[in-house]
């Protein structure tokens, strides 16, 4: 019976991962190729505001009279690269700090991790709000800030994962043989923490999408008149009750993107958990 369950479960899991991949590919297709399929330029005013969908505007027009479909097809790219940059930066910095702390130990470890505690005390949204209001609004700045806000969380995970690796025999052997720390970290320690690294990257990507969309909604993210999914929700929410599509369409895409990423990351995490559990 147990075997049946595990087979069933496994099928479900692969199904879940497959669903995630399908969602991500649809969104990825829109993000990468949408630009070439737009019926109108995304910033052009082509009709009356909040017109109902018809033959010329398949999803209607937005609050300014721009074509919703065109803006939808154009609006994923910025959000995507911002999320990728933020997650990448967060994982890179977190990895750097976490591995260094684990490897060096002692005072370096203590100082680094307390510094991370200080950063960790600022909730992500608050942290970004604080600096954006100080330095002004720019897409690059926002993604860098989200990345920095992710750093403490990632560093704690990776430090935890690296500690047993650092204490392992082959790392001790490499250090005793005088290999430079950078090589030891890159060749010996990093491969030992790839699984948590992958899970972290996936989850941070999902969170970055949510955080950046929320910031755009609060008015501190991507600036108008850019076409952007988060911004579209904020811009058009006044008309939600007469024209729901300009709000619901970008929400659907954000959701597909985040949900797809979430499903894939979760299945990876679970597979990792199973294989490591057996070791």
């Amino acid at each position: 019976m147990n075997g049946n369950l595990s087979v069933l479960g496994r099928a479900m899991r692969t199904g879940q991962a497959r669903l995630g991949l399908v969602l991500l590919s649809v969104v990825g297709f829109v993000v990468l190729f949408g630009h070439f399929l737009m019926p109108y330029a995304p910033d052009t005013i082509v009709g009356q505001p909040l017109a109902d969908p018809d033959g010329s505007f398949l999803l209607g027009t937005d609050i300014l009279g721009r074509d919703v479909l065109s803006r939808l097809l154009d609006g994923g790219l910025t959000l995507s690269w911002m999320a990728v940059l933020a997650a990448g930066l967060g994982v890179f910095l977190g990895c750097l700090v976490g591995l260094t702390a684990a490897y060096r130990g002692g005072a370096v470890d203590a100082v680094l991790m307390r510094a991370m505690d200080v950063l960790l005390s600022f909730p992500e949204i608050i942290f970004v709000l604080l600096f954006v209001s100080m330095l002004g609004r720019s897409t690059l700045l926002t993604s860098v800030l989200v990345g920095i806000a992710f750093m403490p969380g990632v560093s704690r995970v990776l430090r935890g994962a690296a500690l047993p690796v650092v204490a392992s025999e082959y790392v001790l052997w490499a250090r005793a043989n005088g290999l430079p720390p950078r090589q030891v970290l890159l060749r010996e320690v990093l491969p030992g923490v790839t699984s948590p690294l992958m899970v972290e990257t996936g989850m941070r990507l999902v969170w970055a999408v949510a955080a950046i969309a929320s910031l755009s909604y609060l008015g501190f993210g991507i600036a108008p008149p850019a076409a952007d999914w988060g911004l579209m929700v904020g811009e058009n929410q006044d008309g939600l009750s007469v024209a729901p599509l300009p709000v619901l369409a970008p929400i659907t895409l954000i959701l597909m993107m985040a949900l797809g990423g979430n499903l894939v990351a979760e299945s990876v995490a679970r597979t990792v958990g199973r294989t490591e559990g057996k070791r």
């Binding site: 369950l5 200080v118 909730p123 709000l129 209001s133 100080m134 430090r159 935890g160 948590p196 009750s241």
Partner: protein, 326 residues
């Protein structure tokens, strides 16, 4: 979502009283650093605060006078010391916007925010345990699959989307049975207006339950698979006894660190939710203080939120360390 669990650091060596004391002292030190960072960042905000207060019709002399009056021309160290001693004695200065004492402004808002956060937590914890355990118990049933799918959906949704959809569903577009905006008149306790609390509490609770319930489900499945429980089953103990005496306590204990992280996230998640519902708490105060460059209010609000966030994180660390030593 497993990352939050592993975020917790482990004490080297066993768990002892001196470790706890050291951890708490370190916590105080970290909070001090938080205050320094916060102060430095906010004092560097662009724009002349005095000009912002007086508006576009004021002359340069009036602006200079006000700068002096506010102490904006003193050195940063002096300003920081003055501010820190003020915070510790409850004298946090006055709002630059309307001259009212900061304590009077954020006091009631703290109460509103914490009431919102605590009511949500009181609901999240038992519901998450019941839903998670039930789901794990009925593993792979239609209910379980539905729960896993819905919770994936919710953890991927930004809070403002959930809020907006709930407003449209229950307040403005479809049903119209609940207030769409959660205004609490000044001087009133939030719980005098339960109808206004329903939607913001529901938003936070939904998001918390979906996240924590998922973790409880995973922990419970682990606990049921543990050698200890398998042994008990082999020994012929009843299913109910195993469930309530062995598996459940283990699952709850394993979820506790995550629960206090959820608490931390809930306390600060109120920022976006408060904004969506126009609820008069610390979150709306932060957004408005950022927009109006009201430094004393901004600093006080963020300090309170950061402290609450840090305390819950610390609690998570300690609980997890206790769990491991056990």
């Amino acid at each position: 979502m497993s990352s939050l669990m592993t975020r917790v650091s482990v004490p080297r060596g066993g768990l002892s009283f001196s470790w706890l004391v050291r951890r708490l002292l370190l916590g105080v030190f970290v909070l001090l650093l938080v205050s320094v960072l916060l102060f430095l960042v906010t004092q560097a905000l662009p724009g002349d605060v005095a000009r912002i207060i007086l508006g576009k019709d004021a002359t340069a002399e009036q602006v200079a006078d006000l700068r002096q009056q506010l102490g904006l021309d003193r050195s940063l160290v002096v300003q920081y010391w003055h501010w820190l001693t003020g915070v510790l004695t409850g004298e946090m200065g006055s709002s630059l916007q309307n001259g009212e004492p900061v304590v009077d402004i954020i006091g009631p808002r703290m109460l509103d925010s914490f009431a919102l956060g605590l009511i949500s937590l009181v609901l999240i914890l038992p519901i998450a345990v019941v839903v998670g355990v039930f789901s794990a118990h009925q593993r792979d049933s239609a209910w379980d699959k539905a729960f896993v799918a819905v919770s994936s959906l919710f953890t991927a949704l930004p809070a403002f989307v959930v809020g907006m959809l709930l407003i449209a569903l229950f307040a403005t577009s479809v049903l119209g049975v609940l207030p769409g905006v959660s205004n609490i008149p000044p001087g009133d306790m939030p719980w005098w207006h339960p109808a206004e609390l329903v939607l913001p509490v529901t938003t936070l609770t939904l998001m918390g339950v979906m996240y924590l319930g998922r973790l409880v489900r995973a922990s419970f499945i682990d606990a049921m698979n543990s050698e200890y429980v398998q042994m008990a089953t082999l020994k012929g103990l009843s299913g109910r006894r195993i469930l309530f005496r062995h598996a459940l306590p283990n699952a709850v204990a394993a979820s506790l660190p995550a629960a206090s992280l959820v608490a931390a996230v809930t306390i600060t998640g109120v920022v976006v939710v408060e904004y969506v519902y126009s609820y008069p708490g610390l979150g709306t105060a932060v957004v408005s203080a950022v927009n109006s460059h009201d430094l004393p209010v901004l600093q006080a609000c963020i300090l309170v939120l950061a402290t609450a966030y840090y305390v819950f994180n610390l609690l998570a660390d300690i609980l997890s360390a206790m769990g491991r030593s056990r």
